[in-house]
């Protein structure tokens, strides 16, 4: 498979695509995105290019390199288990699209 790299800030799309159209549709479904046929084709090209580029990293020998999850000092701060009041209800409800009986109301989901 041919590979392409970045030239300046642009990259060149090549036709050897690693993602199928069905995979793009599945990913869009998981992200709850509705795509037009033209968008599906475009994202297929772009996402394939990203994957292909990332795939180049697989060529590196990382056998003796420990995985890096973060470059920050690797230790989570911890807080004491002491409850504190949160936000007043009115504040939290203020931006909700719909509320009822002090709860957030959402459209019904059809199974």
């Amino acid at each position: 498979m041919r590979r392409q790299g970045f030239t300046q800030s642009r990259y060149v799309i090549i036709p050897a695509m690693s993602l199928t159209l069905e995979e793009v549709e599945h990913i869009a479904e998981l992200a709850r995105l509705e795509l037009t046929e033209a968008e599906k084709a475009r994202y297929r090209e772009q996402l394939s290019a990203v994957l292909d580029y990332i795939a180049r990293l697989q060529e590196l020998d990382t056998e003796n390199i420990p995985p890096t999850s973060s470059v920050l000092p690797a230790r989570t701060p911890l807080r004491p288990d002491v409850p504190r009041p949160g936000l007043p209800l009115e504040e939290l409800m203020k931006n909700a699209a719909d509320t009822e009986q002090e709860q957030f109301r959402v459209p019904p989901v059809l199974d």
Binding site: S70, P73, A74, T76, L78, V82, G86, L92
Partner: protein
């Protein structure tokens, strides 16, 4: 059908009993609170907020991991599990995936036939709970109070072999959680939730067949019934030459049937990735040592010790170690009455358990302390009070908080063993009831119980019953 055996694994979610939530300081327990009263920008996923991990969540999870003989990992990571659901305001759940807090481990579950089933643990991780969706006449209302409540997810290996064993595992797990004080483990309140993976195979086979997953089996009874129903269904299918498909099923507790659910996302669809807002959890050796100071003798170990050290029957040992404070109470009482642990056990099983059930208290909360209980047993041993009075003293001590001996003196409860006084009372009863005396003398000797009852009433229960009986028998046979 004896040629099949069931292969069952359980995935449990355990709500920890911390004061505050896992990543924010909102109050964790909202059981008695109105909807959306314990929420903040962090747990409702408002933009620009950052989670901060609750120290006690890590400590309680590590304590449980140690009790399950799991390997606590010095470094573990948080990951995002992505899915869309209205009660998940961030669009992802903060969980742990490939680097959980603990791996491995097991629980030895004693079975009713006297054998033990070792149930292995594949992994144990911490995560946040989602909110609650309520369907109200076709309207969907969301309460975020439960968002961010700390959970432990614990997945067993495919080690259970029947619906009963699955139920036994949950009973022992619930006992352990309460014993450690990490969860209230009240299944009614969904502190302990369970999904069951079920498959069948020929007895003795060492392979696994396709399994089904039963969601939401949230009581011991439901686990038993749902798993049994599914085992029977799978046997029928296989007998009919059909294949078992990897369905997700939902147990309808009211109808007692399993319903096929629309297939959920596969694991890859959750698109797990490292939680960028949280750093890894480091559990140093010093911190772990500090946490493990809280690790008590475990219920099954104590059960075995009660049998070997005190010579208790398995039945007694099982009940006495059902709950930690009861078993502590027993040991405190036996320390004061070492000559006969079984006698102490009888008082606990027959009488103290009744008081605990009626009052809803823990043994440690009783005003009738082990010290007072032993005093009552000794008063009965010495014949100062009879057994009936002794038992009535339990409630009197509990109600007043006074020493048993003090109550006996104040209320004049000491047993009347004075032959003269009892004879006098007996004579009165005999002369006041000529009809009964006649029936007795004509051969209806079972009436003796009635006469003794009259005498006990007359003496307000204080008479030595054996003495009363022999005096009455003597008078009636004249």
């Amino acid at each position: 059908m004896t040629e099949y055996e069931a292969v069952i694994g359980l995935e449990t979610h355990i709500q920890l009993n911390t004061q505050s939530k896992i990543f924010c300081s909102c109050k964790a327990d909202s059981w008695n609170d109105p909807p959306n009263t314990n929420i903040c920008p962090v747990c409702t996923g408002l933009p620009g907020v950052l989670p901060v991990t609750n120290r006690v969540v890590v400590e309680k999870a590590a304590l449980l991991a140690a009790a399950m003989h799991a390997e606590i990992q010095p470094v573990s990571f948080f990951d995002r599990k992505n899915y869309f659901y209205p009660d998940l305001p961030k669009g992802y759940q903060i969980s742990q995936y490939d680097r959980p807090l603990a791996r491995g481990g097991y629980l030895d579950v004693p079975l009713p036939d006297g054998t033990t089933r070792q149930v292995t643990i594949e992994k144990l991780h911490i995560e946040e709970d989602a909110g609650k969706t309520k369907n109200d006449n076709g309207r969907r209302l969301i309460d975020f109070n439960r968002c961010g409540v700390p959970l432990i997810e614990m997945v067993t290996g495919p080690d259970l072999r029947s619906a009963d064993e699955a139920a036994q595992y949950l009973i022992r797990l619930r006992q352990l959680l309460r014993w450690l004080g990490v969860s209230e483990a009240d299944m009614e309140k969904a502190h302990l939730r369970c999904d069951a993976n079920v498959s069948i195979r020929m007895v003795g086979a060492d392979y696994l067949n396709p399994k089904t997953e039963i969601k939401n089996v949230n009581s011991i009874v439901a686990v038993k019934e749902a798993v049994q129903t599914e085992i029977e269904r799978q046997i029928r299918e296989v007998e009919a030459g059909k294949r078992i498909e990897a369905w997700t099923l939902e147990w309808d507790e009211d109808a007692g049937v399993l319903r096929k659910m629309r297939s959920k996302e596969t694991e890859a669809d959750y698109r797990y990735f490292r939680e960028p807002d949280l750093l890894p959890i480091h559990i140093s050796e010093a911190w772990l040592a500090h946490i493990l100071q809280e690790l008590p003798e475990l219920p099954l170990e104590r059960r075995a010790r009660f049998i070997s050290q005190y010579g208790l029957p398995e039945y007694d040992a099982d009940i006495l170690t059902g709950e930690r404070s009861l078993s502590d109470y027993f040991e405190a009482a036996v320390a004061l009455y070492p000559s006969d642990p079984k006698r102490v056990s009888n008082w606990l099983l027959n009488d103290l358990m009744r008081m605990l059930n009626e009052s809803g208290k823990l043994a440690s909360e009783l005003r009738l302390t082990p010290d007072y209980l032993v005093e009552i047993i000794r008063l009965v041993d010495a014949g100062t009070v009879n057994t009936t009075t002794g038992k009535s003293l339990l409630d009197k001590v509990e109600a007043s908080g006074k020493r048993p001996g003090e109550i006996v003196n104040a209320e004049g409860l000491a047993q009347v063993s004075d032959t003269g006084a009892i004879r006098q009372a007996a004579q009165q009863i005999v002369s006041a009831n000529p009809e009964q005396v006649q029936s007795y003398r004509k051969g209806k000797t079972t009436l003796i119980g009635w006469f003794v009852g009259q005498l006990m009433r007359e003496t307000r229960g204080k008479a030595d019953p054996q003495l009363a009986r022999s005096i009455l028998e003597e008078l009636l046979s004249e």
